[in-house]
């Protein structure tokens, strides 16, 4: 049983159902938030599918999709859906322009990056999250067994690196923190804030739990991604699956009908609306 194949495949299945449900809501209600959530979730699913594919075979365009949609863009697009509900339309339209232009720029950088991949290091034996980046070896640090180690010049100094698919200093990698910071603030921050407001008013317990699940799920994948960047990519796939399940459960819980009395006082704006 190959967990590198099964876990991403399960995540893809969950995200596919999740994405379809959110986009169905967009088709009915025409709320831009659902459109951005749907696009972001589709990106998440694309990243998961790419992981499953790359556990079997190599394809540079699948890797393109994995990095661009799975690692760089999805959190920001999902979070932008929440932003649509939180701030004035005038501001959110400006942010939409920045997000779209930023995504196009990241796509351009990724198109350049796929032309210079170190495909020689690729193996289906390891998850793609453990072999995509080139890592500088710090003093006293040893390379993993079987890793391709080279000496390169960085900032005028010779350093030893463990070669990954993306060469050292690939510009597209600098874009991911921007998208992920925005995604964290909008998606996780929005869910925590919403849960807090319901909790403070002591109303709608299902919405409190729903937002806690959404925030926790997003934080889980954020933490797993951070660990991956630090060189501990083995937690990414299980983190993705649990994250997908938690966010989906939160969405379903938030979508449940609300009691009329409290809904009249304050209606939360969550994925379920």
């Amino acid at each position: 049983m190959n967990l590198n194949l099964i876990l991403p495949f399960l995540s893809t299945a969950v995200m596919l159902v999740f994405t379809i449900m959110v986009l169905q809501r967009y088709a009915v209600r025409r709320t831009p938030a659902f459109l951005f959530w749907g696009i972001g979730l589709a990106m998440f699913g694309t990243g998961s599918f790419a992981e499953a594919y790359l556990a079997v075979a190599w394809n540079k365009w699948v890797f393109f999709g994995w990095y661009l949609f799975g690692a760089a863009l999805n959190a920001a697009w999902i979070g932008h859906g929440t932003t649509y509900l939180m701030i004035r339309k005038r501001w959110v339209h400006g942010l939409t322009v920045i997000l779209v232009l930023g995504s196009l720029f990241a796509s351009y950088l990724m198109l350049q990056a796929v032309q210079n991949l170190n495909t020689g290091v690729f193996t289906v034996e390891k998850p793609i999250s453990e072999q995509y980046g080139t890592k500088v070896l710090e003093e006293g640090e040893t390379a993993p067994a079987g890793a391709l180690v080279e000496t390169v010049v960085r900032d005028g100094q010779e350093v030893q690196v463990v070669q990954g698919l993306l060469p050292l200093g690939t510009p597209v990698r600098l874009t991911t923190p921007f998208f992920n910071i925005y995604g964290l603030i909008s998606l996780v921050g929005g869910a925590i804030w919403s849960a807090y407001l319901f909790w403070r008013k002591q109303v709608l317990p299902n919405r409190v739990v729903a937002n806690v699940l959404i925030a926790a799920g997003a934080l889980l994948i954020g933490t797993a991604s951070t660990l991956t960047r630090l060189g501990y990519g083995q937690y990414l796939y299980i983190g993705e699956l649990i994250s997908a399940i938690m966010m989906f459960a939160g969405f379903r819980l938030a979508a449940r009908p609300q009691p009329r009395e409290e809904a009249a006082r304050a209606v939360p704006v969550t994925a379920g609306d």
Partner: protein, 58 residues
């Protein structure tokens, strides 16, 4: 994921609308989770900022 006021939707009540007053889960666990998640969010944002500033090498 956010909060705003609007008219009541025409949905019949299906469950309790109030958080139980003596619930340990809602009165203790939920606030602790919210605080912990806020702290973790800030840590992750600081990490991402450290990558951008070159403090964390990649």
């Amino acid at each position: 994921m956010a909060y705003r006021r609007k008219a009541s939707p025409a949905i019949e009540p299906e469950e309790s609308s109030r958080i139980p007053e003596k619930s340990v889960f809602y009165q203790r666990v939920v606030p602790a989770l919210l605080i912990a998640m806020t702290v973790l969010t800030v840590v992750l944002i600081l990490f991402a900022a450290a990558v951008l500033l070159g403090i964390v090498r990649f």
